[in-house]
C-alpha cells in the first residue's frame, strides 16, 4: 500500500510543471536547495559559537527566543504551507481503506519542507551541544520536545488553515508580544524560557509536548476521517458572492473595464490577496538597510523594494493571473495594448500609493525618503516595463484558489521568474554605484531617477515592443496555460 503511495508521490514530484522543464532548471533548483540547506546547517553549527563568543549561554538564549521562533513558524506555515487534501479525491473511490488515506495525507505533510528545514537547524545545533559537553540525554530530550512542538505547529496549521482570521491573529500576537517586550511592559519569554530550559534540565518533561503531539495527531486524524467526504472536508468552501459594479471606473473606458476586473481578481482570490500582504511587508524592507552606514551602495536597493513590493509580487506574474481564462481574453474584442496598459496602470497606481505610505521613512531624514522616491520613479519608469516584458515569457499557469503557492508549492517554484528579477534590481544598483564612482550621491540618485524618467517618456515605444512580444508568444502561452490540469 505504502509502496503505491510512494510511487504516486515520486511521479507527482518528477512530473511537476517546473521541475520537469529541463536539465538546467533541475540543476539550478538542486543548487538552490543545497545552498539553503547549507545556510541552515551552517547556522545550526555557527550560532552556538557566535553566542558563546558574545559571552552568552547559547542554549538559554535559544530557549528565550524559541517562543517567537515557533509563533513565526506558525505564521509562515499558515501563509505558505499548502494542505494536500485535494490530492486525496482520486484515491477515495479506489480500494484503499479510509484510515490509510488519512494517515497518508497527514504523514505526507510531516515530510514537508517546512518541517525538514527545522531539522537542518536543530540537529546540527544539538550535535554541537553534545560535543561541547552538554548532558547527552538532556539534549536528546530537549531536541525531542522542540521537534514535537514543530510538528504540533504542522498539525495546528492543518486544522487552522481554513480560517483566514487566525493568520491576522497570530501576526497581531507576535507584534503585540514583541512590542510589549521591547517597551518592558510584559516579557513573555520570562514565562516560556524556563519551560524550554526545563525540557533540557528536568528529565521526563519532554513527554508533555510529545503527548500533546500524539493527541493532536489523533484529533486531526479523527477530524479528517469524519470529514472525508466530497461535500465536507474535501470541498472547497464556496464564498457568498457579492456583485460589485465599481462604476466609478467606467470613466476610464476600456482601461476601466480591465481595472475593475483586476480589482476583483485581487480581492476574491487567495493567491492574489497575498500580493497585497506582501506589498505591505515590502514597505518595511527599508528597516534592514537604513540607519546602517555600511550599506551605502545598497541603499538604492531598499529604495526599489520599499515601493516595489506589488510590482515584484504581482507584476512578476502578469499575464499568468489571467491564465485560467486566457483563451477568453484572446477571443474577445480586446486590444492587446489596452490589456497591457491596464496592468501597467494598476502597477503604477499601487507603486504610487506605496510611496505615499512609505512617507514614514521621513523619520530617518528626508534624504532617506528621497532614495525611496527615486526608487519609485525607477520602478514606474523602468521596472514596470521590464516586469511586463518578462510576463511574455512567464508561462506558469496560476491556480488562483491555492494560497501562497508562490513559494511553498514546488509546482509553482519558478526559476525563470527569479532570473528575470535580477536586472530589475542589479541595473539600478549598478547605476547608483556608477554615479558614486564618478561623482557623488546627487549624481548617483539623478542617474537612477533619470533612467526612470526616460523610461516613462518613451513608454509608448516600449509598449509597442511589449505588445509585439506578447503577440509572438501568444500560441505558446495559450498552450502552456492549458496544461494546468
Amino acid at each position: 500500500m505504502i509502496k503505491k503511495f510512494i510511487y504516486l508521490e515520486n511521479k507527482a514530484f518528477l512530473r511537476s510543471a517546473s521541475f520537469g522543464a529541463n536539465l538546467v532548471m533541475k540543476i539550478i533548483i538542486g543548487l538552490l536547495m543545497l545552498y539553503f540547506s547549507m545556510i541552515f546547517i551552517g547556522m545550526g553549527i555557527g550560532v552556538f559559537y557566535i553566542l558563546k563568543k558574545m559571552n552568552l549561554e547559547p542554549l538559554s538564549i535559544i530557549n528565550k527566543f524559541l517562543i517567537y521562533y515557533l509563533l513565526f513558524d506558525l505564521i509562515v506555515r499558515l501563509l505558505l504551507q499548502a494542505i494536500p487534501v485535494l490530492n486525496i479525491k482520486p484515491l477515495l473511490v479506489l480500494p484503499f481503506k479510509k484510515n490509510t488515506i488519512v494517515h497518508y495525507a497527514l504523514g505526507k505533510t510531516s515530510l514537508s519542507f517546512f518541517n525538514i528545514i527545522h531539522a537542518l537547524f536543530f540537529i546540527p545545533f544539538s550535535i554541537v551541544l553534545v560535543s561541547e559537553g552538554y548532558n547527552v540525554t538532556g539534549v536528546i530530550f530537549w531536541h525531542l520536545a522542540i521537534f514535537s512542538l514543530v510538528y504540533i505547529n504542522n498539525f495546528l496549521n492543518i486544522i487552522l488553515s481554513n480560517i483566514d482570521k487566525f493568520f491576522i491573529f497570530f501576526i497581531a500576537l507576535i507584534v503585540g508580544l514583541g512590542a510589549a517586550q521591547y517597551y518592558n511592559l510584559f516579557d513573555i519569554t520570562s514565562f516560556t524560557a524556563p519551560v524550554f530550559q526545563n525540557f533540557y534540565e528536568l528529565k521526563g518533561l519532554f513527554l508533555v509536548p510529545v503527548l500533546l503531539l500524539l493527541l493532536l495527531y489523533g484529533f486531526t486524524f479523527k477530524y479528517f476521517r469524519k470529514n472525508l467526504f466530497l461535500d465536507t472536508g474535501l470541498s472547497q468552501k464556496a464564498d457568498v458572492a457579492t456583485t460589485e459594479n465599481l462604476s466609478w471606473l467606467n470613466q476610464f473606458g476600456s482601461l476601466g473595464t480591465f481595472l475593475k476586473n483586476d480589482i476583483k481578481l485581487i480581492k476574491r482570490n487567495k493567491r492574489s490577496k497575498m500580493t497585497i500582504i506582501m506589498s505591505v511587508v515590502f514597505l518595511f524592507y527599508g528597516f534592514l538597510f537604513f540607519g546602517n552606514p555600511f550599506h551605502l551602495y545598497v541603499n538604492i536597493l531598499a529604495g526599489i523594494f520599499v515601493s516595489g513590493g506589488f510590482l515584484f509580487v504581482f507584476g512578476q506574474f502578469v499575464p499568468s493571473w489571467d491564465s485560467s481564462y486566457y483563451q477568453l481574453m484572446m477571443t474577445q474584442n480586446i486590444p492587446y495594448r489596452g490589456y497591457i496598459m491596464s496592468k501597467w496602470w494598476l502597477i503604477v497606481i499601487v507603486t504610487f500609493i506605496s510611496t505615499l505610505l512609505a512617507s514614514f521613512y521621513l523619520f530617518f531624514g528626508w534624504e532617506t525618503y528621497l532614495i525611496i522616491v527615486i526608487g519609485a520613479i525607477y520602478n514606474i519608469g523602468v521596472n514596470s516595463h521590464l516586469v511586463l516584458l518578462g510576463g511574455a515569457f512567464t508561462k506558469t499557469p496560476i491556480d488562483l484558489n491555492s494560497a501562497g503557492g508562490a513559494f511553498g508549492d514546488k509546482k509553482a517554484f519558478n526559476i525563470n521568474a527569479m532570473l528575470l528579477a535580477i536586472p530589475k534590481v542589479a541595473l539600478p544598483v549598478a547605476l547608483y554605484a556608477g554615479g558614486f564612482y564618478l561623482g557623488d550621491k546627487t549624481l548617483a540618485l539623478s542617474l537612477v531617477g533619470g533612467a526612470g524618467v526616460l523610461g516613462f517618456i518613451f513608454r509608448n515605444k516600449v509598449f509597442s515592443i511589449i505588445e509585439k512580444k506578447y503577440k509572438s508568444e501568444k500560441y505558446s502561452t495559450i498552450s502552456a496555460y492549458k496544461q494546468k490540469n
Binding site: A238, K264, Q327, L328, N333, I334, L400
Partner: protein, 246 residues
Amino acid sequence: MLIESRITNLKSTITMIQVHQISKKYNQTTVLNIDYLEIPKGQSFGLVGNNGAGKTTFFSLLLDLIQPSTGHITSNAIQINTNENWKSFTGSFLDESFLIGYLTPEEYFYFVGDLRHQNKADIDVFLMQYAEFFDGEILNNKKYLRDLSKGNQKKVGIIATLIGNPEVVILDEPFANLDPTTVNRLKKIIKELAENPNCTVLVSSHDLQHTVEVCDRIVVLSRGQIVRDIQTSEETLQELESFFAL
C-alpha cells in the same frame, strides 16, 4: 485560380468563412487537414465527428488560439491569424476556460458587454430574454462562476457569446452536460439565431439528432478530414446514423 473562380460563382450568397488548405500537425501527426471549405453568411453549420476527429482543433484555428501548420482561414474577408479585427464580430464558447471564475454571472456578462460596447442597461435588457433558459439558477444567486455546477457554467458561457449581436457564433459541444429541458431551450435559441440572416452559427456535437435539428448543413469530420458535407434534409439523420454505425 481555382479558388477565385469558385468565389465568383458564389457571388450571389455572401461568404462568411473561408478555409484554405488548412492543416494542423503535432509531431508529424496530422490532426486536421481541410483543403477547402466555405461557409456562407447566415448559415447554421454543424460539425460532427468522433473524439479526436478534429472538431475542437478546427474551432481553435478559427479563433486563432493555435497556429495553423499550413493554410489560413478568413472570416468576413479578414485573415484570422494576421488581423485581429474578426474579434469584434465573433462570439465563442469552447469550454470553461472561457469563464472568469471569480466573477458572479452578472459581472461576467457586464465584463463581456463592456468589451462589446454594451452598457449595463443594455445587458440587463439582453439578459431578460434568457430568464427561461437560466431557469432561476444563474442570476442573483450570490455565487461566483467557479462555484456553479458545470451545466450552469455552460449556460452562462453560451449566453455570453450572444452579447452584442455577433455575426459569427462558435459553440463547441453546446449540448453536452446540459439537462434535457435546457437542451430543448438551447435548441430553440440556436434555431432563432439561425433564422437571422446576418448571423452565422457554427456548432459542434457528438449528438447527431440535436445537430440535425438546428443546422442547415452538416459536415462530418473523421481523423481530421472532411468525409461528408450534407445539406440537412429529411434523410440526413438516417444517413449520418448509418455513417457512424460501427
